[in-house]
């Protein structure tokens, strides 16, 4: 499949001389049409710079950005502006026009494209329905909650009929429940409109919930890239392991056998560790855990100690893997 967006050995350097900072180093990525692609990394990893390089809000120092096989960097300013309408973007801070009401905010990209006002308003009303806020047409951004503002921003992003939607930490300013509903909306948009979505985030729960593939960015370079299940079940890079189980440094004492348990959000609220000790009669210690409860579902990872005996280990892992939404493996 021909990628819709291809980033080729892209580098971005800020500043000069001693103050020079290499934000991105030789990043290459291909994004397939119709997929939801996640880019995750700790803060300062270069995620935001990378997403801004895709629509050339930041000009890369080196490399190329291809959209449908065409190098965007070779385009004249005027043509670049036209291409940008096909690559919409939403932001952590929503960036709505505060002096315009919601309807006029959504009309804005259509106004730029020269679409007649009446037609634009009709389409904006449809989009308000799509994002579930039909009664907010006349409301001003200040009157909305964070989640509602992001919904309006999504409607605005859809107004230019884009092929790609870039999400720059779009849920980072929202509470878990609102994050969940925004992610569901993005998933629906991806499914129903076939829009390719690129999500930049530092929250692994976001990646787990809606992405098909993920790239892990570490210090400006791609540490690993692959299907979300693979990367989360078995991260290959140091950065990957750090992100997937952020609360724990890698075990210093390599001699202690340990299991990593991942909760992917489908797990019920069963007391899994308590059941384990009761049912199998083994004692395990929790070495570290980073789990969250979102709407009664567990997300995250936990590291537990394992007994030395091989058959006991296998028994424990098999027991844990039998739970829905739980994967366990020895690390």
């Amino acid at each position: 499949m021909e990628p819709i967006i291809e980033i080729k050995s892209l580098s971005k350097t800020f500043g000069e001389g001693q103050n020079q900072v290499e934000a991105l180093r030789d990043v290459s990525l291909g994004i397939n049409p119709g997929e939801i692609f996640g880019i995750i990394g700790l803060s300062g990893a270069g995620k935001s710079t990378l997403v801004r390089c895709i629509n050339l809000l930041e000009k890369p120092t080196q490399g190329a950005v291809l959209f449908h096989g065409r190098d965007l960097m070779g385009l004249k300013e005027k043509h670049l502006r036209l291409e940008r309408r096909k690559i919409s973007m939403i932001f952590q801070s929503f960036n709505l026009l505060e002096q315009r009401n919601c309807l006029d905010n959504i009309c804005f990209p259509m106004e730029l494209a020269g679409i007649p006002r009446k037609q634009a308003r009709e389409k904006a009303m449809e989009l308000l329905h799509t994002v579930g806020l039909p009664d907010k047409a006349k409301a001003y951004p200040v009157q909305l909650s964070g989640g509602q503002k992001q919904r309006i921003a999504i409607a605005r992003a859809l107004a230019s009929d884009p092929e790609v939607l870039l999400c720059d930490e779009a849920t980072s300013a929202l509470d878990p429940k609102t994050t969940d509903s925004i992610l569901k909306l993005l998933k629906t948009i991806n499914r129903e409109r076939g829009i390719t979505i690129i999500i930049i985030t530092h929250q692994m729960s976001v990646i787990e919930q809606i992405c098909n593939r993920v790239a892990i960015l570490d210090a400006g370079a791609v540490a690993e890239i692959g299907a979300v299940e693979d990367v989360f079940r078995n991260p290959q890079s140091r950065a990957g392991r750090r992100l997937v189980s952020p609360a724990m440094p890698l075990p210093v004492d390599e001699s202690i056998p340990m299991a990593r348990i991942a909760f992917n959000g489908n797990a019920s609220s069963d007391p899994i560790i308590a059941s384990l000790t009761l049912d199998l009669g083994v004692k395990v210690s929790i070495m570290g855990a980073d789990t969250r409860n979102v709407d009664g579902k567990a997300f995250g990872t936990m590291l537990i100690s394992l007994p030395e005996a091989e058959e006991k280990k296998t028994e424990i892992l098999r027991y844990l893997n039998a739970f829905d939404g739980v994967t366990a493996e020895e690390v």
């Binding site: 629509n55 809000l57 502006r81 036209l82 291409e83 940008r84 309408r85 690559i87 919409s88 973007m89 932001f91 801070s93 960036n95 709505l96 026009l97 505060e98 002096q99 315009r100 009401n101 804005f108 990209p109 106004e111 730029l112 494209a113 001003y140 951004p141 200040v142 009157q143 230019s160 870039l166």
Partner: protein
Amino acid sequence: MTETITALLESWGVNKAAEQVSFLFDPVNIPFAIWETLYAPLCATLFAYLIGLPLGILLVTGEEGGIRPLPKSLMGLINTIINLLRSVPFLILMVLVFPLSRLILGTSIGTTATIIPLTVAAAPYVARLVEGSLREIDRGVVEAAQSMGCSTLQIVTKVMLPECKPSLISGATNATITILGYGAMAGSIGGGGLGSIALMRGHGRGQTVVMYVAVILLVILVQIIQSIGTRLCVKTDKRITHK
């Protein structure tokens, strides 16, 4: 009524009470002075915005890291000229600008002639006010507009100016009042208006009652302009929900 007031003022020991009262109650003197007080500064404010608004926009968009950076040397030149004009005391500037007034209007005295020096003094001030207002805009909003394919001109006309409208209005209120103050000063060298009356007749000829009345009228005018500006600013600002 004039006799009663004159008698009252005389009983307080006011000099030339009859002359002052007849001046103040003349149907032309004071209304005409109010008109002169407003006319020159308001015209000057308008012209100052014609020059200062584009200049202020340029100061924000043209800087390094702005949406349309201009050569550093050009920006440096604009900044220096603005600072220079702003640092010359208004009375000196007025005298310096006399030749320009004569060139444009054929005269350097009279109320109309003060429009030229007022504009020259106000334009750089307006440029700084506009610059300050436009700097309040969130960079993210500009970035969002760019991501939607906005041109530089569209960012200025459709994003920056409308988003900063309340702040621009409050700046314009400030500018008008400051220029009104300058205009009163201009009264001392040939301009008309309440400032001239307060200075020439009131202070110069010892007609203190006339002076106080002129000053009080100026205070009232400033109050009216300020409250109109504030009300307009609040009315246009959609970020304020309780009005």
